[in-house]
């Protein structure tokens, strides 16, 4: 028997917001799982990249509570392999930006021990702060 998934206006608003921020046609993801199979950070994630895509498709704003969106390393391994031409890294960035633009940072420089701060090269610090702070 056919089942109907109810997409509420609130779900739809969320989906549209992420589509606009990422410029990705998220609804065409067919859940093949190639992105998840390509992802080097998958061991650190709570939901897989393809699950993250599904959550956004369904307009579930719980996607914003995932660890996955923060541990994506923007490595573009999924990007070059997606048979639908989608870019999960852009979706993860859009999700991060929703939180970061509310002035909620993921990384606080005061929590980095000073000996580590002294050793980390600029390239690591600049990129981490661009990705994980607003």
């Amino acid at each position: 028997m056919a089942q109907t998934i109810v997409i509420t206006p609130k779900n739809e608003t969320f989906l549209k917001r992420i589509v606009a921020l990422s410029a990705e046609a998220i609804t065409v993801c067919d859940q093949c799982g190639t992105c998840s199979g390509s992802c080097p950070m998958i061991h650190e994630m709570d939901v897989t990249p393809s699950q993250l895509m599904r959550m956004v498709q369904l307009g579930q704003s719980e996607a914003l509570d995932t660890k996955t969106m923060w541990v994506c390393a923007s490595c573009f391994a999924c990007t070059v392999r997606c048979p639908r031409g989608l870019d999960v890294s852009k979706v993860a960035e859009a999700l991060r930006q929703v939180t970061l633009r509310r002035s909620v940072d993921r990384l606080d420089i005061r929590n980095i021990p000073s000996d580590e701060l002294a050793e980390l090269p600029q390239i690591a610090l600049v990129s981490a702060f661009r990705k994980l702070t607003g």
Binding site: L21, L120, V126
Partner: protein, 320 residues
């Protein structure tokens, strides 16, 4: 790129002419600190090959990572401001090429990406030019290239002629990581099976060890919030290179270098039987093969000292 430019590069090299081909060069911040071994060795190698990498005046940080959201044009200003410098140098005749050369893989990616996005969009280009009203307008027609692409344009024979210390018995696994290859529109080689380093390493006489981890990300900026997550990737990448027969890996990226080299400390905490492996900047090995003064390699900045390996292979003098 025009054929005219290519032939300029070749001409200087072939004639062994004292006048070197001058190319605009963007170093990026980390090449002035932990990545000095990449910069100094690359400048020396370029000079040996008849090229002068002329550093952009008043360059600024490129931001390392391209903004991936559709609406923040603002984050492309920093890379584009560097492109204004390239245009000025080229217009003033201070360089022989309109293409800016990068060494750091991440600078390459960030600059090329912003340049492609803005250069191809008249409206965005105008917005950025209006915002930077104190700068001259960027026309959007300068290009960003990586040092490897420049090497590829040279006569292979001319490079081979410079090899004074063939790396004969050194087993090296070229590592590519992400930003030299991906996304496809930016990358300089096949994103699944890149081979661009192979040819040059073979010209240097090294034994090249290919393995499937050459394109696996090292964890990038996640090294700041979670060094142990990155250490696991380092462990996998280097262990696979080792079991394929490699004694060292090469990279072009100071972030890859930090993650693959310095993070071996965290790898050893978790995997005590891990065997440390030297991580070379690609151009450090070229400098060794060209027999250049070892000082330009700045091996003192490498975390896992590669000198014992080089001395053991008789590729470096005992006292160097």
């Amino acid at each position: 790129m025009t054929s005219e430019q290519t032939s300029t590069t070749h001409a200087a090299l072939d004639a062994g002419s004292p006048k070197r081909t001058r190319l605009p060069y963007y170093p990026g911040c980390t090449l002035k600190t932990t990545g000095k071994g990449l910069e100094d060795s690359a400048l020396a190698v370029a000079e040996t090959l008849g090229m002068e990498l002329v550093e952009l005046p008043r360059w600024n940080c490129c931001g390392v990572v391209t903004s991936l959201t559709d609406d923040d044009l603002m984050r492309h200003i920093a890379p584009i401001r560097n492109m204004v410098r390239v245009q000025e140098m080229s217009d003033a005749g201070l360089v022989d090429d309109k293409r800016v050369v990068t060494l750091c893989s991440m600078c390459f990616n960030a600059l090329k990406w912003s340049n492609a996005r803005i250069g191809g969009n008249a409206e965005d280009l105008k917005s950025i030019n209006d915002f930077m009203y104190l700068e001259e307008d960027y026309r959007g027609d300068s290009e960003v290239v990586h040092f490897l692409e420049i090497l590829k344009e040279l006569d292979p024979e001319a490079i081979a002629r410079q090899v004074k210390v063939p790396l004969g018995n050194l087993n090296v696994a070229p590592y590519y990581g992400c930003t030299l290859l991906r996304p496809k529109s930016i990358g300089i080689d096949d994103p699944e099976n890149p081979t661009i380093q192979r040819k040059f390493l073979e010209t240097m006489g090294a034994t090249v060890i290919d393995n499937s981890y050459k394109t696996v990300c090292c964890g990038s900026y996640q090294t700041v919030p979670d060094k142990y997550a990155v250490a696991e990737l380092t462990h996998d990448i280097l262990s696979h290179a080792r079991s394929a027969g490699a004694e060292a890996v090469t990279t072009f990226c100071p972030l890859c270098a930090f993650n693959l080299d310095n993070r071996q400390r965290e790898v050893l905490e978790k995997h005590p039987d891990f065997e440390p492996m030297p991580v070379f900047y690609f151009t450090q090995l070229m400098a060794v093969a060209f027999g250049l003064n070892a000082e330009c390699c700045r091996f003192d900045l490498n975390h896992t000292d590669p000198r014992p390996l080089l001395r053991g292979k008789k590729l470096m003098k005992e006292d160097a």
